[in-house]
Symmetry: C2
Subunit: 301 residues, 2 copies
Protein backbone atom coordinates (compact mmCIF):
# COMPACT_ATOMS: atom_id res chain seq x y z
CA UNK A 1 0.00 0.00 0.00
CA UNK A 2 1.22 3.50 -0.66
CA UNK A 3 -0.23 7.03 -0.21
CA UNK A 4 -3.86 7.87 0.41
CA UNK A 5 -4.54 8.94 -3.18
CA UNK A 6 -3.40 5.55 -4.38
CA UNK A 7 -5.38 3.75 -1.73
CA UNK A 8 -8.48 5.59 -2.81
CA UNK A 9 -7.77 5.02 -6.46
CA UNK A 10 -7.80 1.30 -5.67
CA UNK A 11 -11.17 1.86 -4.06
CA UNK A 12 -12.57 3.05 -7.36
CA UNK A 13 -12.62 6.84 -7.11
CA UNK A 14 -10.13 8.45 -9.46
CA UNK A 15 -8.00 11.06 -7.70
CA UNK A 16 -8.05 13.33 -10.73
CA UNK A 17 -11.75 14.15 -10.54
CA UNK A 18 -15.03 13.41 -8.87
CA UNK A 19 -17.40 10.61 -9.87
CA UNK A 20 -19.02 10.06 -13.23
CA UNK A 21 -21.22 12.82 -14.59
CA UNK A 22 -19.16 15.81 -13.55
CA UNK A 23 -16.90 17.78 -15.78
CA UNK A 24 -13.47 17.71 -14.13
CA UNK A 25 -11.22 20.32 -15.57
CA UNK A 26 -13.95 22.90 -15.97
CA UNK A 27 -13.72 25.55 -13.31
CA UNK A 28 -16.20 25.33 -10.45
CA UNK A 29 -17.52 28.82 -11.23
CA UNK A 30 -18.20 27.86 -14.84
CA UNK A 31 -20.25 24.90 -13.66
CA UNK A 32 -22.05 26.97 -11.04
CA UNK A 33 -22.91 29.70 -13.57
CA UNK A 34 -24.29 27.11 -15.99
CA UNK A 35 -26.42 25.68 -13.22
CA UNK A 36 -27.73 29.11 -12.17
CA UNK A 37 -28.92 29.63 -15.77
CA UNK A 38 -30.28 26.14 -16.44
CA UNK A 39 -32.27 25.95 -13.19
CA UNK A 40 -33.22 29.65 -13.13
CA UNK A 41 -32.46 29.25 -9.44
CA UNK A 42 -30.15 30.49 -6.69
CA UNK A 43 -31.43 27.82 -4.29
CA UNK A 44 -28.93 25.42 -2.71
CA UNK A 45 -30.51 22.51 -0.88
CA UNK A 46 -28.67 21.46 2.27
CA UNK A 47 -28.66 17.69 2.74
CA UNK A 48 -28.62 17.41 6.55
CA UNK A 49 -30.17 14.04 7.39
CA UNK A 50 -31.98 13.60 10.69
CA UNK A 51 -33.28 10.06 10.65
CA UNK A 52 -35.81 10.73 13.42
CA UNK A 53 -37.57 13.11 11.03
CA UNK A 54 -37.69 10.66 8.11
CA UNK A 55 -40.98 8.98 7.18
CA UNK A 56 -41.08 5.50 8.70
CA UNK A 57 -41.00 3.80 5.28
CA UNK A 58 -37.60 5.40 4.64
CA UNK A 59 -36.20 5.15 8.16
CA UNK A 60 -36.75 1.40 8.23
CA UNK A 61 -34.90 0.69 4.98
CA UNK A 62 -31.23 -0.21 4.76
CA UNK A 63 -29.18 2.92 3.93
CA UNK A 64 -32.05 5.19 4.97
CA UNK A 65 -30.00 8.36 4.60
CA UNK A 66 -29.06 7.59 1.03
CA UNK A 67 -32.65 6.62 0.20
CA UNK A 68 -33.98 9.83 1.74
CA UNK A 69 -31.42 11.99 -0.06
CA UNK A 70 -32.05 10.25 -3.38
CA UNK A 71 -35.76 11.00 -3.16
CA UNK A 72 -35.08 14.64 -2.25
CA UNK A 73 -32.53 15.02 -5.03
CA UNK A 74 -34.76 13.48 -7.69
CA UNK A 75 -37.59 15.78 -6.61
CA UNK A 76 -35.52 18.98 -6.69
CA UNK A 77 -32.55 18.62 -9.08
CA UNK A 78 -34.04 20.85 -11.80
CA UNK A 79 -34.75 23.60 -9.26
CA UNK A 80 -31.38 24.07 -7.58
CA UNK A 81 -27.98 25.56 -8.33
CA UNK A 82 -26.14 23.27 -5.88
CA UNK A 83 -26.47 20.66 -3.14
CA UNK A 84 -24.70 21.02 0.19
CA UNK A 85 -24.39 17.88 2.32
CA UNK A 86 -23.35 18.74 5.90
CA UNK A 87 -20.62 16.35 7.07
CA UNK A 88 -21.52 16.15 10.77
CA UNK A 89 -24.95 14.78 10.00
CA UNK A 90 -23.31 11.77 8.35
CA UNK A 91 -20.42 11.34 10.78
CA UNK A 92 -22.71 11.21 13.82
CA UNK A 93 -24.55 8.29 12.19
CA UNK A 94 -21.33 6.51 11.11
CA UNK A 95 -22.71 7.00 7.60
CA UNK A 96 -19.73 8.14 5.53
CA UNK A 97 -20.63 5.46 2.99
CA UNK A 98 -24.05 7.02 2.50
CA UNK A 99 -22.43 10.44 2.05
CA UNK A 100 -20.19 8.95 -0.64
CA UNK A 101 -23.19 7.34 -2.35
CA UNK A 102 -25.22 10.56 -2.18
CA UNK A 103 -22.56 12.64 -3.93
CA UNK A 104 -21.88 9.91 -6.46
CA UNK A 105 -25.61 9.74 -7.16
CA UNK A 106 -25.87 13.49 -7.81
CA UNK A 107 -22.95 13.32 -10.25
CA UNK A 108 -24.35 10.25 -12.03
CA UNK A 109 -28.05 11.10 -12.19
CA UNK A 110 -27.94 14.89 -12.25
CA UNK A 111 -24.48 15.66 -13.64
CA UNK A 112 -23.85 19.35 -13.71
CA UNK A 113 -25.36 20.20 -10.33
CA UNK A 114 -22.36 21.09 -8.17
CA UNK A 115 -21.94 19.54 -4.73
CA UNK A 116 -20.48 21.57 -1.86
CA UNK A 117 -19.24 19.41 0.99
CA UNK A 118 -19.98 21.45 4.11
CA UNK A 119 -17.32 20.23 6.49
CA UNK A 120 -15.66 23.52 7.52
CA UNK A 121 -12.20 21.97 7.55
CA UNK A 122 -9.24 23.89 8.85
CA UNK A 123 -5.79 22.48 9.54
CA UNK A 124 -2.18 22.96 8.58
CA UNK A 125 0.36 21.62 6.11
CA UNK A 126 0.24 17.93 5.42
CA UNK A 127 -3.01 17.58 7.39
CA UNK A 128 -4.80 20.12 5.20
CA UNK A 129 -3.59 18.06 2.23
CA UNK A 130 -5.35 15.06 3.71
CA UNK A 131 -8.56 17.02 4.11
CA UNK A 132 -8.36 18.10 0.46
CA UNK A 133 -8.01 14.44 -0.51
CA UNK A 134 -10.99 13.61 1.69
CA UNK A 135 -13.24 16.26 0.14
CA UNK A 136 -12.22 16.14 -3.51
CA UNK A 137 -11.03 12.59 -4.08
CA UNK A 138 -12.74 10.42 -1.54
CA UNK A 139 -16.10 12.21 -1.61
CA UNK A 140 -15.78 13.70 -5.11
CA UNK A 141 -17.13 17.07 -3.97
CA UNK A 142 -17.00 20.00 -6.36
CA UNK A 143 -16.37 22.44 -3.53
CA UNK A 144 -15.74 22.39 0.22
CA UNK A 145 -16.31 24.81 3.07
CA UNK A 146 -13.23 25.78 5.09
CA UNK A 147 -12.42 27.83 8.20
CA UNK A 148 -9.99 30.77 7.82
CA UNK A 149 -8.70 30.95 11.43
CA UNK A 150 -5.43 29.17 10.57
CA UNK A 151 -4.61 31.52 7.71
CA UNK A 152 -3.72 31.35 4.04
CA UNK A 153 -1.31 28.43 4.13
CA UNK A 154 -4.04 26.25 5.65
CA UNK A 155 -6.29 27.04 2.66
CA UNK A 156 -3.68 26.58 -0.05
CA UNK A 157 -3.98 22.76 -0.34
CA UNK A 158 -7.66 23.28 -1.20
CA UNK A 159 -7.21 26.37 -3.39
CA UNK A 160 -4.59 24.77 -5.56
CA UNK A 161 -7.20 22.38 -6.95
CA UNK A 162 -8.08 24.87 -9.64
CA UNK A 163 -11.22 23.09 -10.85
CA UNK A 164 -12.72 22.90 -7.35
CA UNK A 165 -14.34 25.58 -5.26
CA UNK A 166 -13.23 26.66 -1.78
CA UNK A 167 -15.87 28.38 0.33
CA UNK A 168 -14.31 30.23 3.28
CA UNK A 169 -16.32 31.10 6.40
CA UNK A 170 -16.59 34.87 6.63
CA UNK A 171 -19.64 36.06 8.62
CA UNK A 172 -21.68 33.13 9.92
CA UNK A 173 -25.41 33.08 10.69
CA UNK A 174 -25.25 32.26 14.41
CA UNK A 175 -25.42 34.75 17.31
CA UNK A 176 -21.91 33.81 18.51
CA UNK A 177 -20.51 34.98 15.17
CA UNK A 178 -20.11 38.29 16.98
CA UNK A 179 -17.54 36.94 19.44
CA UNK A 180 -14.63 37.00 17.00
CA UNK A 181 -15.89 37.88 13.52
CA UNK A 182 -17.13 41.33 14.57
CA UNK A 183 -14.04 42.38 16.50
CA UNK A 184 -12.67 45.74 15.39
CA UNK A 185 -9.28 45.40 13.72
CA UNK A 186 -6.94 48.30 14.39
CA UNK A 187 -8.62 51.64 14.81
CA UNK A 188 -10.04 52.17 11.31
CA UNK A 189 -13.49 50.62 11.81
CA UNK A 190 -12.71 47.39 9.96
CA UNK A 191 -13.91 44.17 11.50
CA UNK A 192 -12.41 40.69 11.33
CA UNK A 193 -14.94 39.52 8.73
CA UNK A 194 -13.97 42.47 6.52
CA UNK A 195 -10.35 41.32 6.66
CA UNK A 196 -11.39 37.78 5.72
CA UNK A 197 -13.41 39.14 2.78
CA UNK A 198 -10.45 41.24 1.63
CA UNK A 199 -8.05 38.29 1.83
CA UNK A 200 -10.55 36.10 -0.02
CA UNK A 201 -10.91 38.68 -2.79
CA UNK A 202 -7.16 39.12 -3.22
CA UNK A 203 -4.47 36.78 -1.88
CA UNK A 204 -6.67 33.69 -1.65
CA UNK A 205 -8.35 34.08 -5.03
CA UNK A 206 -5.44 33.99 -7.45
CA UNK A 207 -7.05 31.02 -9.23
CA UNK A 208 -10.60 32.38 -9.23
CA UNK A 209 -11.96 29.55 -7.10
CA UNK A 210 -12.40 31.19 -3.70
CA UNK A 211 -15.88 31.99 -2.32
CA UNK A 212 -17.33 32.99 1.03
CA UNK A 213 -19.99 31.90 3.52
CA UNK A 214 -22.14 34.79 4.75
CA UNK A 215 -25.16 34.14 6.95
CA UNK A 216 -28.60 35.29 5.77
CA UNK A 217 -29.37 36.53 9.25
CA UNK A 218 -27.01 39.50 8.87
CA UNK A 219 -28.13 41.28 5.67
CA UNK A 220 -26.19 44.49 6.38
CA UNK A 221 -22.95 42.53 6.68
CA UNK A 222 -23.88 40.75 3.45
CA UNK A 223 -24.06 44.09 1.64
CA UNK A 224 -20.68 45.15 3.06
CA UNK A 225 -19.08 41.89 2.00
CA UNK A 226 -20.56 42.11 -1.50
CA UNK A 227 -18.99 45.54 -1.81
CA UNK A 228 -15.58 44.11 -0.91
CA UNK A 229 -15.56 40.97 -3.06
CA UNK A 230 -17.05 42.11 -6.39
CA UNK A 231 -18.84 39.28 -8.19
CA UNK A 232 -17.49 36.45 -6.03
CA UNK A 233 -20.17 33.82 -5.32
CA UNK A 234 -21.46 33.81 -1.75
CA UNK A 235 -22.95 30.79 -0.02
CA UNK A 236 -25.74 32.10 2.19
CA UNK A 237 -27.22 29.75 4.79
CA UNK A 238 -29.78 30.86 7.33
CA UNK A 239 -33.01 31.41 5.41
CA UNK A 240 -35.88 29.17 6.48
CA UNK A 241 -35.48 27.60 9.93
CA UNK A 242 -32.91 30.22 11.03
CA UNK A 243 -35.14 33.14 10.01
CA UNK A 244 -33.07 35.05 7.44
CA UNK A 245 -35.14 37.38 5.25
CA UNK A 246 -35.07 36.29 1.61
CA UNK A 247 -35.84 39.69 0.08
CA UNK A 248 -33.05 41.39 2.04
CA UNK A 249 -30.60 38.61 1.22
CA UNK A 250 -31.24 38.89 -2.51
CA UNK A 251 -31.26 42.70 -2.58
CA UNK A 252 -28.06 42.97 -0.56
CA UNK A 253 -26.22 39.95 -1.90
CA UNK A 254 -26.83 39.61 -5.64
CA UNK A 255 -24.44 40.79 -8.32
CA UNK A 256 -25.43 43.11 -11.18
CA UNK A 257 -26.17 39.98 -13.21
CA UNK A 258 -28.75 38.90 -10.63
CA UNK A 259 -26.69 35.90 -9.54
CA UNK A 260 -23.67 35.53 -7.23
CA UNK A 261 -25.63 33.72 -4.52
CA UNK A 262 -26.20 30.17 -3.36
CA UNK A 263 -29.06 30.60 -0.91
CA UNK A 264 -28.99 27.50 1.20
CA UNK A 265 -31.95 25.97 2.99
CA UNK A 266 -31.99 22.57 4.65
CA UNK A 267 -34.61 21.74 7.26
CA UNK A 268 -37.50 23.74 5.80
CA UNK A 269 -37.12 21.85 2.53
CA UNK A 270 -36.10 18.38 3.74
CA UNK A 271 -38.78 18.21 6.43
CA UNK A 272 -41.52 20.27 4.76
CA UNK A 273 -43.55 17.12 5.36
CA UNK A 274 -42.59 14.19 7.55
CA UNK A 275 -45.16 11.99 5.86
CA UNK A 276 -44.91 9.82 2.79
CA UNK A 277 -45.26 12.92 0.61
CA UNK A 278 -41.94 14.33 1.89
CA UNK A 279 -40.36 14.46 -1.58
CA UNK A 280 -43.21 16.31 -3.26
CA UNK A 281 -43.42 18.63 -0.25
CA UNK A 282 -39.69 19.29 -0.61
CA UNK A 283 -40.20 20.10 -4.27
CA UNK A 284 -42.99 22.52 -3.42
CA UNK A 285 -40.85 24.20 -0.74
CA UNK A 286 -37.94 24.52 -3.17
CA UNK A 287 -40.19 25.97 -5.88
CA UNK A 288 -41.55 28.45 -3.37
CA UNK A 289 -38.08 29.53 -2.23
CA UNK A 290 -36.90 29.85 -5.86
CA UNK A 291 -39.90 32.05 -6.58
CA UNK A 292 -39.35 34.23 -3.49
CA UNK A 293 -35.72 34.70 -4.49
CA UNK A 294 -36.44 35.34 -8.16
CA UNK A 295 -38.97 38.04 -7.31
CA UNK A 296 -36.07 40.17 -6.06
CA UNK A 297 -33.43 39.42 -8.69
CA UNK A 298 -32.27 42.25 -10.95
CA UNK A 299 -31.89 39.90 -13.91
CA UNK A 300 -32.41 36.25 -14.71
CA UNK A 301 -30.35 34.63 -17.41
Amino acid sequence: MSGPAETIRDGGIPPEGPGAGTAPGKAFLTRLSACWSRSDSLVCVGLDPEIERFPRQIAEQPSPIFQFNKAIIDATADLVCAYKPQFAHYAAYEAEDQLERTIEYIHRAHGGVPVILDSKRGDIGNTAERYAIEAFERYGADAVTVNPYLGGDSLEPFLRREDRGVVVLCRTSNPGARDLQDLAIGDGGRRLYHVVAELAATRWNTRGNCMLVVGATYPQELAEIRAIVGDMPLLVPGVGAQGGDVAQVVRNGQTAAGTGLMVSSSRSILYASTGDDFASAARAATLSLRQQINAHRLQRA
Copy 2:
Protein backbone atom coordinates in the same frame (compact mmCIF):
# COMPACT_ATOMS: atom_id res chain seq x y z
CA MET B 1 -34.51 4.28 13.94
CA SER B 2 -34.40 7.39 16.05
CA GLY B 3 -31.67 9.99 16.80
CA PRO B 4 -27.99 9.49 16.24
CA ALA B 5 -27.19 8.81 19.88
CA GLU B 6 -29.64 5.92 19.87
CA THR B 7 -28.31 4.63 16.60
CA ILE B 8 -24.83 4.60 18.02
CA ARG B 9 -25.97 3.03 21.26
CA ASP B 10 -27.27 0.13 19.16
CA GLY B 11 -23.79 -0.06 17.68
CA GLY B 12 -22.35 -0.81 21.10
CA ILE B 13 -20.82 2.48 22.26
CA PRO B 14 -22.68 3.91 25.22
CA PRO B 15 -23.46 7.61 24.76
CA GLU B 16 -22.75 8.35 28.42
CA GLY B 17 -19.06 7.64 28.19
CA PRO B 18 -16.24 6.38 26.03
CA GLY B 19 -15.21 2.76 25.66
CA ALA B 20 -14.21 0.37 28.41
CA GLY B 21 -11.24 1.31 30.53
CA THR B 22 -11.90 5.00 30.92
CA ALA B 23 -13.49 6.63 33.89
CA PRO B 24 -16.55 8.45 32.59
CA GLY B 25 -17.80 10.99 35.05
CA LYS B 26 -14.34 11.97 36.19
CA ALA B 27 -13.37 15.33 34.81
CA PHE B 28 -10.93 15.33 31.92
CA LEU B 29 -8.47 17.47 33.88
CA THR B 30 -8.46 15.00 36.75
CA ARG B 31 -7.61 12.20 34.36
CA LEU B 32 -4.95 14.27 32.62
CA SER B 33 -3.35 15.25 35.92
CA ALA B 34 -3.24 11.64 37.04
CA CYS B 35 -1.58 10.72 33.76
CA TRP B 36 1.01 13.51 34.05
CA SER B 37 2.00 12.11 37.45
CA ARG B 38 1.89 8.42 36.62
CA SER B 39 3.93 8.76 33.40
CA ASP B 40 6.20 11.53 34.71
CA SER B 41 5.64 12.91 31.23
CA LEU B 42 4.19 15.88 29.36
CA VAL B 43 4.56 14.08 26.02
CA CYS B 44 1.49 13.62 23.85
CA VAL B 45 1.98 11.29 20.91
CA GLY B 46 0.13 12.32 17.76
CA LEU B 47 -1.24 9.33 15.87
CA ASP B 48 -1.08 10.57 12.26
CA PRO B 49 -0.86 7.49 10.06
CA GLU B 50 0.92 7.70 6.70
CA ILE B 51 0.78 4.22 5.27
CA GLU B 52 3.58 4.90 2.80
CA ARG B 53 5.91 5.34 5.78
CA PHE B 54 4.88 2.09 7.50
CA PRO B 55 7.22 -0.90 7.42
CA ARG B 56 6.12 -3.27 4.68
CA GLN B 57 5.16 -6.02 7.16
CA ILE B 58 2.55 -3.66 8.65
CA ALA B 59 1.42 -1.97 5.43
CA GLU B 60 0.53 -5.30 3.87
CA GLN B 61 -1.69 -6.45 6.73
CA PRO B 62 -5.44 -5.91 6.85
CA SER B 63 -6.22 -2.84 8.98
CA PRO B 64 -2.63 -1.59 8.70
CA ILE B 65 -3.37 1.70 10.43
CA PHE B 66 -4.80 0.02 13.48
CA GLN B 67 -1.92 -2.46 13.59
CA PHE B 68 0.64 0.33 13.32
CA ASN B 69 -1.06 2.42 16.00
CA LYS B 70 -1.41 -0.57 18.32
CA ALA B 71 2.33 -1.27 18.12
CA ILE B 72 3.16 2.41 18.75
CA ILE B 73 0.71 2.60 21.66
CA ASP B 74 1.97 -0.56 23.33
CA ALA B 75 5.53 0.75 22.99
CA THR B 76 4.83 4.17 24.48
CA ALA B 77 1.76 4.07 26.77
CA ASP B 78 3.76 4.33 29.99
CA LEU B 79 5.66 7.36 28.68
CA VAL B 80 2.84 9.68 27.59
CA CYS B 81 0.20 11.92 29.13
CA ALA B 82 -2.16 11.63 26.12
CA TYR B 83 -2.62 10.36 22.58
CA LYS B 84 -3.84 12.62 19.80
CA PRO B 85 -5.14 10.94 16.65
CA GLN B 86 -5.51 13.44 13.79
CA PHE B 87 -8.83 12.91 12.00
CA ALA B 88 -7.79 13.84 8.43
CA HIS B 89 -5.19 11.10 8.34
CA TYR B 90 -7.96 8.54 8.83
CA ALA B 91 -10.61 10.21 6.65
CA ALA B 92 -8.30 10.42 3.63
CA TYR B 93 -7.83 6.63 3.87
CA GLU B 94 -11.54 5.93 4.43
CA ALA B 95 -10.38 4.45 7.73
CA GLU B 96 -12.87 5.73 10.29
CA ASP B 97 -13.25 2.17 11.52
CA GLN B 98 -9.53 2.00 12.32
CA LEU B 99 -9.77 5.30 14.18
CA GLU B 100 -12.61 3.86 16.25
CA ARG B 101 -10.59 0.72 16.96
CA THR B 102 -7.49 2.74 17.87
CA ILE B 103 -9.30 4.79 20.50
CA GLU B 104 -11.16 1.76 21.82
CA TYR B 105 -7.83 -0.05 22.12
CA ILE B 106 -6.23 2.75 24.13
CA HIS B 107 -9.19 2.75 26.53
CA ARG B 108 -9.21 -1.03 26.86
CA ALA B 109 -5.48 -1.78 27.05
CA HIS B 110 -4.16 1.42 28.59
CA GLY B 111 -7.16 2.82 30.42
CA GLY B 112 -6.39 6.16 31.98
CA VAL B 113 -4.39 7.60 29.09
CA PRO B 114 -6.66 10.34 27.68
CA VAL B 115 -7.34 10.51 23.97
CA ILE B 116 -7.70 13.88 22.24
CA LEU B 117 -9.42 13.64 18.88
CA ASP B 118 -7.73 16.29 16.75
CA SER B 119 -10.47 17.19 14.28
CA LYS B 120 -10.69 20.99 14.75
CA ARG B 121 -14.45 21.01 14.42
CA GLY B 122 -16.39 24.24 14.19
CA ASP B 123 -20.03 24.62 13.28
CA ILE B 124 -23.26 26.00 14.64
CA GLY B 125 -26.30 24.87 16.60
CA ASN B 126 -27.63 21.44 15.78
CA THR B 127 -24.61 20.70 13.57
CA ALA B 128 -22.18 21.32 16.42
CA GLU B 129 -24.31 18.89 18.45
CA ARG B 130 -23.69 16.26 15.78
CA TYR B 131 -19.95 16.87 15.94
CA ALA B 132 -20.03 16.45 19.72
CA ILE B 133 -21.79 13.11 19.20
CA GLU B 134 -19.19 12.16 16.62
CA ALA B 135 -16.23 12.93 18.91
CA PHE B 136 -17.50 11.79 22.28
CA GLU B 137 -19.98 9.02 21.52
CA ARG B 138 -19.02 7.52 18.21
CA TYR B 139 -15.24 7.74 18.72
CA GLY B 140 -15.26 7.77 22.51
CA ALA B 141 -12.66 10.53 22.68
CA ASP B 142 -11.86 12.13 26.04
CA ALA B 143 -11.30 15.53 24.43
CA VAL B 144 -11.60 17.15 21.02
CA THR B 145 -9.94 20.10 19.29
CA VAL B 146 -12.27 22.86 18.05
CA ASN B 147 -11.99 26.08 16.06
CA PRO B 148 -13.15 29.32 17.74
CA TYR B 149 -14.00 31.36 14.60
CA LEU B 150 -17.76 30.77 14.95
CA GLY B 151 -17.85 31.95 18.58
CA GLY B 152 -19.05 30.72 21.94
CA ASP B 153 -22.38 29.18 20.90
CA SER B 154 -20.53 26.92 18.45
CA LEU B 155 -18.38 25.59 21.33
CA GLU B 156 -21.18 25.12 23.83
CA PRO B 157 -22.37 21.68 22.59
CA PHE B 158 -18.84 20.41 23.30
CA LEU B 159 -18.27 22.33 26.53
CA ARG B 160 -21.48 21.11 28.12
CA ARG B 161 -20.05 17.58 28.25
CA GLU B 162 -18.54 18.30 31.62
CA ASP B 163 -16.43 15.15 31.81
CA ARG B 164 -14.82 15.80 28.41
CA GLY B 165 -12.14 18.26 27.41
CA VAL B 166 -12.47 20.92 24.71
CA VAL B 167 -9.22 22.20 23.22
CA VAL B 168 -9.72 25.48 21.37
CA LEU B 169 -7.30 26.67 18.68
CA CYS B 170 -5.60 29.83 19.93
CA ARG B 171 -2.19 30.45 18.32
CA THR B 172 -1.32 27.73 15.83
CA SER B 173 2.16 26.58 14.78
CA ASN B 174 2.01 27.40 11.05
CA PRO B 175 3.33 30.58 9.36
CA GLY B 176 -0.18 31.55 8.16
CA ALA B 177 -1.29 31.78 11.79
CA ARG B 178 -0.29 35.42 11.45
CA ASP B 179 -2.97 36.19 8.86
CA LEU B 180 -5.83 36.39 11.36
CA GLN B 181 -4.60 35.31 14.78
CA ASP B 182 -2.07 38.14 15.07
CA LEU B 183 -4.39 40.95 13.95
CA ALA B 184 -4.45 43.86 16.38
CA ILE B 185 -7.85 44.19 18.05
CA GLY B 186 -8.88 47.78 18.74
CA ASP B 187 -6.02 50.13 19.51
CA GLY B 188 -4.78 48.68 22.82
CA GLY B 189 -2.17 46.27 21.50
CA ARG B 190 -4.24 43.13 22.02
CA ARG B 191 -4.22 40.56 19.24
CA LEU B 192 -6.92 38.12 18.16
CA TYR B 193 -5.24 35.18 19.89
CA HIS B 194 -5.19 37.18 23.15
CA VAL B 195 -8.96 37.62 22.86
CA VAL B 196 -9.40 33.88 22.28
CA ALA B 197 -7.26 33.14 25.33
CA GLU B 198 -9.29 35.57 27.45
CA LEU B 199 -12.60 34.05 26.31
CA ALA B 200 -11.26 30.56 26.95
CA ALA B 201 -10.18 31.52 30.47
CA THR B 202 -13.52 33.13 31.34
CA ARG B 203 -16.78 32.68 29.42
CA TRP B 204 -15.88 29.35 27.83
CA ASN B 205 -14.46 27.73 30.96
CA THR B 206 -17.37 27.80 33.37
CA ARG B 207 -17.15 24.01 33.74
CA GLY B 208 -13.34 23.83 33.97
CA ASN B 209 -12.98 21.75 30.79
CA CYS B 210 -11.68 24.31 28.29
CA MET B 211 -8.09 24.18 27.08
CA LEU B 212 -6.08 25.79 24.26
CA VAL B 213 -3.85 24.85 21.34
CA VAL B 214 -0.67 26.94 21.16
CA GLY B 215 2.06 26.12 18.65
CA ALA B 216 5.56 25.33 19.90
CA THR B 217 7.01 27.44 17.10
CA TYR B 218 5.91 30.68 18.81
CA PRO B 219 7.37 30.52 22.34
CA GLN B 220 6.84 34.21 23.08
CA GLU B 221 3.12 33.91 22.32
CA LEU B 222 3.05 30.80 24.51
CA ALA B 223 4.33 32.84 27.46
CA GLU B 224 1.73 35.55 26.85
CA ILE B 225 -1.06 33.00 26.68
CA ARG B 226 0.13 31.26 29.86
CA ALA B 227 -0.07 34.63 31.61
CA ILE B 228 -3.68 35.05 30.49
CA VAL B 229 -5.05 31.59 31.25
CA GLY B 230 -3.52 30.70 34.63
CA ASP B 231 -3.07 26.95 35.05
CA MET B 232 -5.21 25.91 32.05
CA PRO B 233 -3.66 22.96 30.18
CA LEU B 234 -2.18 23.84 26.80
CA LEU B 235 -1.81 21.42 23.91
CA VAL B 236 1.45 22.33 22.18
CA PRO B 237 2.12 20.81 18.76
CA GLY B 238 5.10 21.74 16.63
CA VAL B 239 8.15 20.26 18.35
CA GLY B 240 9.99 17.71 16.26
CA ALA B 241 9.33 17.91 12.51
CA GLN B 242 8.05 21.50 12.73
CA GLY B 243 11.10 22.69 14.64
CA GLY B 244 9.71 24.10 17.90
CA ASP B 245 12.32 24.43 20.64
CA VAL B 246 11.59 22.13 23.58
CA ALA B 247 13.44 24.12 26.23
CA GLN B 248 11.65 27.35 25.35
CA VAL B 249 8.28 25.61 25.21
CA VAL B 250 8.70 24.17 28.68
CA ARG B 251 10.13 27.33 30.22
CA ASN B 252 7.43 29.54 28.74
CA GLY B 253 4.49 27.20 28.93
CA GLN B 254 4.64 25.22 32.18
CA THR B 255 2.67 26.04 35.29
CA ALA B 256 4.23 26.53 38.73
CA ALA B 257 3.57 22.82 39.35
CA GLY B 258 5.76 21.96 36.35
CA THR B 259 2.81 20.65 34.36
CA GLY B 260 0.05 22.34 32.32
CA LEU B 261 1.41 21.14 28.98
CA MET B 262 0.68 18.39 26.49
CA VAL B 263 3.70 18.63 24.19
CA SER B 264 2.62 16.86 21.04
CA SER B 265 4.91 15.16 18.58
CA SER B 266 3.82 12.94 15.72
CA ARG B 267 6.11 12.25 12.80
CA SER B 268 9.42 12.30 14.68
CA ILE B 269 8.10 9.58 16.99
CA LEU B 270 5.96 7.50 14.61
CA TYR B 271 8.58 7.39 11.88
CA ALA B 272 11.73 7.44 13.99
CA SER B 273 12.49 4.27 12.06
CA THR B 274 10.67 3.01 9.01
CA GLY B 275 12.09 -0.48 9.49
CA ASP B 276 10.81 -3.40 11.49
CA ASP B 277 12.13 -1.77 14.66
CA PHE B 278 9.68 1.16 14.31
CA ALA B 279 7.99 0.52 17.66
CA SER B 280 11.19 0.37 19.68
CA ALA B 281 12.50 3.41 17.81
CA ALA B 282 9.26 5.22 18.68
CA ARG B 283 9.77 4.29 22.32
CA ALA B 284 13.32 5.62 22.25
CA ALA B 285 12.18 8.88 20.61
CA THR B 286 9.41 9.28 23.21
CA LEU B 287 11.83 8.61 26.08
CA SER B 288 14.21 11.16 24.63
CA LEU B 289 11.51 13.83 24.27
CA ARG B 290 10.25 13.14 27.81
CA GLN B 291 13.78 13.57 29.09
CA GLN B 292 14.35 16.80 27.14
CA ILE B 293 11.11 18.18 28.53
CA ASN B 294 11.71 17.02 32.09
CA ALA B 295 15.13 18.69 32.16
CA HIS B 296 13.35 22.05 32.06
CA ARG B 297 10.42 21.38 34.41
CA LEU B 298 10.21 23.33 37.65
CA GLN B 299 8.74 20.35 39.48
CA ARG B 300 7.80 16.76 38.77
CA ALA B 301 5.04 15.14 40.77
